[in-house]
Symmetry: C2
Subunit: 194 residues, 2 copies
């Protein structure tokens, strides 16, 4: 069951633009709250947006699909319907240990996206962010460090997982815009003395 959900949780970058309710987004944050938190500090904060105008402001600060160099991100009509920005509250994580904070952001990002998939949504974890600009447009206070932005919408994209060939892990698109994601094999990734 969880495998099916994780498998369906691809990094979607094209969507059918349909409003997502704040209530449904809050349900995703509840999943984040229930997820492991380093030292249980719960130092993460979330800015949620389902508003067209605010979404546009966020969209402008994101870089999409670094390996698809001839594509500047989803065009109008194909964009995410919501964003969840993940921030670290430096008043709580006062040492701001990058390892702890970013581990925490990864944990909650996965919980949120798996919840989104269950809601028949999907999304993408975006780390390539114009952070100063995003701080400005979302009026983010200085004590909050921007970590990630999750783009969320109703996916409208075909994504196929394939084996890595010639050690090339770059995702790519064919002439029909099907998106291929090469994944390494387990034998390459695990060791042990068993």
């Amino acid at each position: 069951m969880i495998k099916a959900l994780i498998e369906k949780n691809r990094s979607y970058r094209k969507f059918v633009e349909e409003k997502i309710s704040i209530d449904n987004l809050k349900k995703l944050i509840e999943l984040a709250i229930l997820s492991p938190s380093p030292r249980n500090l719960q130092a993460l904060k979330f800015i949620i947006s389902n508003d067209k105008e605010e979404n546009n402001k966020i969209f402008e600060q994101l870089t999409w699909a670094g390996y698809i160099t001839d594509w500047q991100g989803p065009k109008k009509g194909e964009r995410p319907s919501a964003y969840i920005s993940i921030l670290a509250d430096k008043n709580i994580s006062n040492n701001f240990q990058k390892d702890f904070i970013y581990t925490a952001s990864g944990i909650v990002a996965q919980s949120i996206l798996l919840g989104a998939v269950e809601q028949k949504l999907g999304g993408c974890i975006i780390a390539a962010i114009k952070k100063n600009k995003l701080r400005e447009v979302l009026n983010i206070s200085d004590n909050l460090e921007i970590l990630l932005v999750l783009a969320i919408g109703k996916p409208n994209e075909k994504i196929i997982i394939e084996d890595v060939k010639n050690n090339d892990i770059k995702y790519w698109r064919d002439e029909n815009n099907t998106h291929y994601v090469p994944k390494r094999k387990i034998e390459e990734l695990i060791t042990g003395s068993w």
Copy 2:
């Protein structure tokens, strides 16, 4: 469904010691492989152990439950049956950007633990590791950076989630050794202009 799984996925630190097969551990790594990977680099490697002797060596390098100061971790007979050490391969992530690497480790840790819960197992993400010593006992090569150790077993512990009171997020145990974990409320964590 995913909520029930995330809710059941507590940070377990006491277990019934029962062998976990390498095959079942590999199934958890498959979940990690299918999870989002920053830039799709897939720079993480995994050392899996279900061997009593090797488990003991790993156990010695871990610090348990920082807030429970009168407890040195699970005693013999209550210890994890398996460990998955998560490492970053510096030959792949050659810049070793902490934010990317630790985000990646958090994503896969959550996938692995949710898979463990589905297998009626459970575990704990441990970041307080004597890394030099672990490198020695597991014979970890220099190109691999130790990020996290996941302790996995069949949980034997009662854990209750409660609201944070007086801003105190420290987990605690009562006289019956029930473990309480205060969680912040959603109102404290989200903002937005909706």
